[in-house]
């Protein structure tokens, strides 16, 4: 999977998880808040209705009090008529009243307005309101709704009323007796207080008495007709506050408030499914919002990850091109800081690699050239031609012993030169090679110079790079002693200096100026192979340094008319180390 996809998917996944978590938290919070809001709203509405109902009932109680204290209490029913005072009060409150009546303790009608004749079948003393008033004299009693069935109505109107009854003291002929004052409140008044009250989310409100009997319900007649049921009997057992109930398989939030004095209860019902419906809508909205944010995040993440990963991809592409061998690869340094640094590092690395490669190629080239030089020095045709010409000349001159010696030396010289293809050979072999070479040259130059080859103690068993001495000797003969008199001397001394092997080749020839001697090893000097060019010496120097490092090589000390001393410095190699160099592994 690409880095862009990894970043994009990871960011999106994390964002989705966070959003879902936040969404769930908010949803739960919202649901709880909604329920709380609905609860608060129901309680506020019910409190307001309770206030209105309380006010209405107090008004009815005031009517009852006024009726009692102003009309009934001070009148002697044996002499005075109560009708006028009662009528007056009735007319003042006729919007809320159906009838007002006073009965004696036996249920006989003393006075009533607006209808004043009892039905034949009426038995007031058996009515619940009458019994309640007589049993609990100190209280006012509110009945449940019922049809007013006491008075003869010529229009045969049957009206639903709530009866407010109380015990009263009647005065008859100066004597007091018990009686009952009945105020029939129009059901309209209660309906006016409770109707059109809507609770949140399609909730409704109903009113029950203490035993759960319905007083008002917005669908009261449906309940009376048996088409609907209400949980009123259970609701009567609830304390004031909010409750959760399950009725007919449906969950509802029920808020209850007891109406002062009467013991009636206002019950607010909010169906839970309407809350759930709201929650579902919110859930749907939240889900849509979540989807929107997720896809927006996905898109932005995709773009951001592309912004991050494009420079990395570009680097990857460049590296692939490098792997494929392309040379002109542009490595761009763009993107974030880290990626820029990475690009920069790769660019530096590639540059370093290129330089190293060039160095390696250069070194390989030099090595190859040096080896070629060795080969060339091994089979120097002039040397071979001159030697063989000398052998011919000596043979023709009858100098057979010298000819044999020369040929023998030549044969051994070549044998050591070959050395079974080894580049590192024992110091003794190298010195022997020098000796054979000098034997040949001494015969050729008719002993114009003498040679001393010494290996000092400590050098036994040491190894050296092959054919490092012979080119120096050749140089010494051609440039130092060829034009000298018979007292020329060339000394070859091998000695050990700590971890180094030093082979010193010295002659007492014509020498040279120090600056000329210094220039012999100068790499910038053109490789023109002419006599006196010193190319053999420089090749030896280069070979030693290529093989053993910069610390080793030649150093030339010369003074005009004094002579030249060439010091060959090599590592003091034993057989094991020599073997390692032979395999090309170095020290």
């Amino acid at each position: 999977m690409s880095i862009q996809m990894v970043i994009s998917l990871s960011f999106t996944a994390v964002a989705v998880v966070c959003l879902v978590f936040m969404g769930l938290s908010l949803s739960l919070r919202f649901t709880a808040n909604t329920e709380k809001l609905v609860e608060d709203s129901s309680q506020r509405v019910i409190s307001q209705v309770n206030l209105n109902l309380d006010s209405y009932l107090r008004r009815m109680m005031r009517v009852s009090n006024t009726m009692y204290y102003r009309v009934v209490k001070d009148a002697d029913i044996a002499e005075d008529s109560l009708t006028e005072g009662m009528n007056l009060l009735y007319e003042e409150n006729r919007d809320a009243l159906v009838s007002v009546a006073v009965f004696d303790s036996s249920g006989n009608l003393i006075s009533a307005v607006p209808l004043s004749t009892l039905k034949e079948a009426a038995v007031p003393e058996e009515s619940a309101w009458f019994r309640a008033a007589m049993e609990k004299m100190e209280n006012l009693h509110f009945s449940t709704p019922h049809i007013q069935n006491l008075f003869d109505d010529p229009d045969y109107r049957y009206r639903w009323v709530v009866s407010l009854s109380r015990h009263v003291q009647l005065t008859r002929g100066g004597a007091t007796e018990s009686g009952v004052l009945l105020v029939d409140m129009s059901f309209y008044g209660i309906e006016q207080v409770c109707r059109d009250v809507e609770l949140s989310n399609g909730g409704y409100l109903y009113l029950i008495d203490g035993s759960g009997e319905l007083i008002y319900h917005p669908r009261q007649q449906l309940i009376y007709a048996g088409l609907l049921e209400e949980n009123n009997l259970i609701a009567a057992t609830y304390r004031d506050g909010t409750h959760q109930e399950s009725f007919q398989g449906k969950s509802r939030q029920v808020t209850v408030k007891t109406v002062g004095y009467t013991g009636w209860k206002l019950v607010g019902v909010v169906p839970a499914e309407s809350l759930a419906e709201n929650s579902q809508q919110m859930l749907l909205f939240g889900l849509s919002l979540l989807l929107f944010v997720v896809f927006l995040m996905a898109y932005l993440n995709f773009r951001i990850s592309a912004h991050i990963s494009d420079p990395i991809r570009s680097l990857e592409h460049a590296i692939k091109e490098l792997e494929a061998g392309c040379e002109d690869v542009e490595i761009e340094e763009k993107g974030c800081y880290e990626v820029q640094r990475l690009g920069h590092s790769i660019r530096s690395m590639v540059s370093t690699m290129r330089h190293l490669m060039e160095d390696i190629i250069e070194q390989e080239e030099q090595k190859r050239r040096s080896e070629l030089e060795v080969l060339q020095s091994q089979i120097n045709p002039h040397f071979l031609y001159n030697t063989l010409d000398s052998v011919i000349w000596m043979t023709e001159a009858g100098r057979h012993e010298e000819a044999i010696q020369m040929v023998t030396s030549l044969a051994r010289l070549f044998r050591i030169s070959l050395s079974r293809g080894k580049s590192v050979i024992p110091l003794s072999s190298e010195l022997e090679h020098a000796r054979y070479y000098m034997n040949i040259q001494q015969i050729r130059y008719k002993n114009k110079f003498s040679v001393q080859i010494n290996a000092l103690p400590g050098t036994e068993g040491l190894y050296t790079l092959k054919l490092v001495v012979q080119p120096i000797l050749e140089n010494a003969i051609y440039h130092g002693l060829s034009s000298a008199e018979d007292d020329g001397l060339i000394t070859v001394t091998a000695r050990r200096e700590e971890d180094d092997l030093v082979i010193e080749v010295a002659d007492n020839g014509m020498g040279m100026r120090p600056e000329v001697a210094d220039s012999l090893l100068d790499e910038d000097r053109p490789d023109v192979r002419t006599s006196g060019s010193g190319i053999g010496v420089r090749n030896v120097h280069r070979r030693i340094r290529l093989t053993f490092g910069e610390r080793y090589g030649l150093s030339i000390h010369s003074e005009p008319d004094v002579g030249t001393r060439v010091e060959i410095r090599l590592p003091a190699l034993d057989e094991t180390q020599a073997e390692r160099y032979q395999r090309g592994g170095g020290a």
Binding site: Y158, W160, Q221, L222, L227, F292, F302
Partner: protein, 317 residues
């Protein structure tokens, strides 16, 4: 390749993004569309001339109409039980923009035959009588009601003929009650005398009918007949107990005054409510199952029992 794949992914994400934007805009409208239902037109066509007989039923109908989004027209006949007029009314309403009809059939058999021709495929709910071809019928079990009424009459019977007033010979529902009463009384050896009489003539003719039949008890089988018989009984000062059907305010008053001895009553309010609710829901394609309406026998002295108060006197303000 990678670039093309990335472009496709981006395009897919953008399409999903657009869908996520559109979703919250579209879904609330869809739910709103579900909630707001088109109001339905309903015509109620009775077989009576006096709509006060249906006052309680009308209250129930209006309640159901308010709850189910129904606009209601209430139509009565100019002549009691005039089938031709009722058919004409049905045709006229069907040609109008009414969606459904509630009918109290004047002539059940005749209307059954012509119902679909008159109203087409509109929803029809019958009240009082079972009407063939109607989607629903809202009525009590008329046979059981007649049987119960006969049982009540027999409780008071001490010999003599019982006069059965047939005031709606074309109404299947009324006839079913009458037949059940006849069978029950006959089954118990109670002699009966059936008299067919028009509602409009019943009040004046009752005395003569009673004398002709020598009846000791009188029975009527529809609210209008019960009221007219009660009026006739009172005006002729007849002493024969009268048994009727219905729960109108006037019948309650006759019951209270003792003019009517007992009635078989059912909640007219419930009947009206169920008729309109059934019609509305059936028109909207919902399945609606109708059970026979429960009824009870109410004697005069029992009208103020709490349950009977709720049955006879709908809560009005």
């Amino acid at each position: 390749m990678n670039k093309r794949r990335n472009n496709i992914i981006q395009l897919a994400i953008l399409v999903a993004l657009a869908a996520a934007v559109a979703l919250p805009l579209i879904l609330p409208r869809m739910t709103e569309a579900r909630v707001v239902a088109t109001p339905l037109e309903l015509s109620v066509i009775l077989r009576d001339t006096d709509s006060s007989l249906w006052a309680n039923a009308r209250m129930g109908m209006e309640q159901a109409a308010a709850e189910h989004g129904v606009e209601m027209r209430f139509l009565t006949l100019t002549t009691q039980g005039d089938c031709a007029e009722q058919e004409e009314l049905l045709r006229r309403e069907a040609e109008g923009d009414t969606d459904m009809l509630v009918i109290a059939p004047a002539d059940t058999q005749r209307l059954s035959r012509q119902l679909r021709e008159l109203v087409g495929q509109r929803t029809v709910v019958s009240v009082e009588s079972e009407l063939e071809g109607a989607e629903l019928s809202v009525l009590p079990d008329n046979a059981a009601l007649g049987h119960a009424l006969a049982q009540t009459a027999m409780e008071d019977w001490s010999g003599g003929t019982v006069l059965l007033l047939n005031t709606a010979p074309e109404s299947a529902g009324v006839l079913e009650r009458l037949e059940a009463v006849r069978q029950t009384l006959a089954g118990h050896g109670v002699p009966v005398c059936e008299k067919t009489v028009k509602i409009s003539e019943l009040t004046g003719a009752l005395h003569e009918l009673v004398q002709e039949s020598g009846a000791v008890q009188i029975m009527a089988f529809e609210p209008a007949a019960s009221e007219c018989a009660a009026a006739g009984k009172e005006s002729a000062q007849l002493s024969q107990p009268l048994y009727g059907v219905g729960s109108t305010t006037d019948i309650a008053a006759w019951l209270e005054r003792g003019t009517i001895c007992a009635v078989a009553a059912w909640s007219e309010y419930a009947a009206g409510y169920l008729a309109v609710e059934g019609a509305a829901l059936t028109t909207r394609g919902e399945t609606y199952k109708m059970e026979p309406l429960p009824f009870s026998i109410v004697r005069g002295e029992e009208i103020y029992d709490p349950d009977n108060q709720k049955l006879l006197f709908p809560v009005t303000y």
